[in-house]
């Protein structure tokens, strides 16, 4: 059989059109990519055009076969699973050919990798609900994260409910997109670059209070950095207030000395180097 690589626009609808076209051309793609540069020159490629009608037909069919699978696939599309499109493709083919029975077995070989990636995504979402830090910037709350998976669509509901009467943004530096919320409306937009504003005096003060609380609450006789790191992996630390260096606690346009952020009686949290990239998604396997 011919090696055929599908190229699509990177959207979920575009992916569904890959499925549609593979049935039209009666072929099984060897890879599904959205970045032309990553395709080895020796292979045949087929550019897939995103057609909303085709996408909707595939999606309706999926929902009819199994609403569970449809929602699983939408989530899997947000994960950093290597070759996620191809694995999702095989799951869909199996679903269309064998029916939904195999979905009840989480250890099924086609389902398992997808399920595992989605669990990883959901785990990251759960952790970030707690680990996201917002700053009060004027009358807007702003935060930044560097997740492995595209978590913003799944964090949206949570933070919109928490800040129902507020305005906020949350920037995902890994995937260069931002969640915006104002007057009851939320949206997610691509945003190539973004720099967080310097804190004003009140903001810097709350940051300092929080770091002091954090450093003091630990019990020295129970010091257990390994346990902390297992529950809160280091890759999250770079965007968390408690692990920032002194400048983070210094207000804008102020050369006044600030109190040492560390606590006299506590265990000072280690600083992480901010902006020490690259933060490209890594494999979870």
């Amino acid at each position: 059989m011919n090696e055929m690589i599908y190229l699509y626009d990177g959207s979920f609808q575009g992916f569904l059109c890959c499925v549609f076209d593979s049935y039209v051309y009666k072929e099984v793609p060897t890879a599904i990519c959205c970045d032309e540069d990553s395709v080895p020159a020796l292979f045949d490629t087929r550019g897939i055009v995103t057609d909303r009608n085709h996408a909707e037909r595939v999606y309706r069919k999926l929902v009819k076969c199994s609403p569970y699978a449809a929602s699983l696939l939408r989530k899997c599309f947000l994960t950093c699973l290597p070759q996620r499109e191809l694995r999702m493709y095989h799951l869909i083919v199996k679903l269309l050919e064998q029916g939904s029975g195999f979905l009840r077995d989480p250890s099924d070989e086609t389902l398992y990798p997808v399920l595992r990636a989605v669990r990883h995504l959901e785990g990251e979402v759960h952790l970030l609900k707690g680990f996201v830090r917002f700053s009060q910037l004027g009358d807007v709350l702003g935060g930044e994260i560097r997740p492995k998976n595209r978590v913003l669509p799944l964090l949206r509901h949570h933070f919109c409910a928490r800040y129902v009467g507020d305005r906020f943004f949350l920037y995902d530096r890994t995937h260069r997109e931002v969640l915006l919320y104002a007057s009851g409306q939320a949206c997610i937009r691509p945003l190539d670059d973004f720099q967080m504003a310097q804190p004003d005096a009140a903001e810097a003060r709350y940051r300092l209070l929080w770091k002091r609380f954090y450093d003091t609450i630990a019990i020295r006789e129970r010091y257990n950095p390994r346990c902390r790191q297992t529950q809160m992996p280091k890759r999250y630390w770079s965007t968390m207030t408690e692990f920032q260096g002194a400048t983070y606690f210094t207000p804008q346009s102020s050369c006044a000395a600030v109190p040492d952020p560390g606590a006299p009686a506590g265990i000072p949290a280690p600083e992480t180097l901010s902006g020490s990239g690259p933060f490209a998604p890594e494999s979870i396997l």
Partner: protein, 419 residues
Amino acid sequence: MDVLEKLTILTDAAKYDAACTSSGGNRTAKKGMIGNTSSSVAGCCHSFSADGRCVTLLKVLMTNRCIYDCKYCVNRRSNDTPRAAFTPEELADLTIGFYRRNYIEGLFLSSGVFRSPDDTTGLMIRTLRLLREKYRFNGYIHAKAIPGTAPELVEQLGLLADRLSVNIELPSETGLRTLAPDKTKEAILAPMRQIRTRNLQSKEELVKYRHAPRFAPAGQSTQLIVGATPDSDFHILRLTQALYRQYRLKRVFYSAYVPVVEHALLPAKTVKPPLLREHRLYQADWLLRFYGFRAEELLDEQHPDFDIRLDPKCSWAVAHPEFFPVEVNTADYEALLRVPGIGMTSARRILAARRTGSLRPEQLPRLGVVMKRAQYFLTASGKLPEGLRFTQDSLLRRLITVENSVPDFQQLSLFDAMA
């Protein structure tokens, strides 16, 4: 004194309290109010402190001034330590400032006994009023009910807080008499009874009238100190069981005693806090609440303490060979839960997966079964996992090795701490 300094003193004084979960809230966001308690359902950790404990709530004391002299406590009257007190305004402002920045899920407010239990509770009530009424704070609040407080004040506190707790601290009356001479068992149990009764009443009223006031909707909890007194694990676990059954407690927390003072009746200051023992009690507590175990199955008068080398579920399994092996294709949920290495999630997955066909041993890891432990206790389609041979003697040794080598994170790090 400035707020930063107060925060330092009053956090330091509050840190020995173990409870820091925000479970059991379900208030959704409302217009004009700040926050909700919905994420609390799954227990949202906002950070982990350097000792590996989850930070969910702003855990501080209203004041660490105290007229009592409990021997085990850093805040006791006779201890020479810096004292401070928040004003209700300062504390409410701090809570809101932290909540908005997503540092915390809410407030956990406890206090030393300042002037009298009623005066102290009065200050706490003023703080919570400010939060709920002025700031329209809709997030989670856990407040301490201080033994000896007038029932009317406990009532007000319960209408403002999501959860109340009364700390028993010392698991026996002898312990109380010698180490906390200002407290009596009756003074501790009275508010616990009141909270239980009012919580049940308010639930019944809510069924009838949607707007009936909620009294401590997330129930009550307590804390027991482990290792300050000679009480056995069996004693502590039976007390726990009674608290869950009779007082309908939501949680019992255990706190390994950290020697903060030299006292003839207490362990010396050089004694390390019994962290592993505390961990075993948490594991056993979990078995009581979710796995259908009774305290008397896990321990008895002949074996009053847990085997430090092995988790309580493994210990039970080793002592009950007649129960095993469990066949994963036919066993019911309760029996699956008794297999070491099978948890609630993997048990549910097994039930779902086996409807599509007979399970084979090699499928089990993908369902979340920890085979290193489970392999000795189960069969799949009548087969033991391949190549497995063991005797009753070698079983115990091997399980201890597993526990020491790649156990879950907490045990691992705890062993390190002990070594």
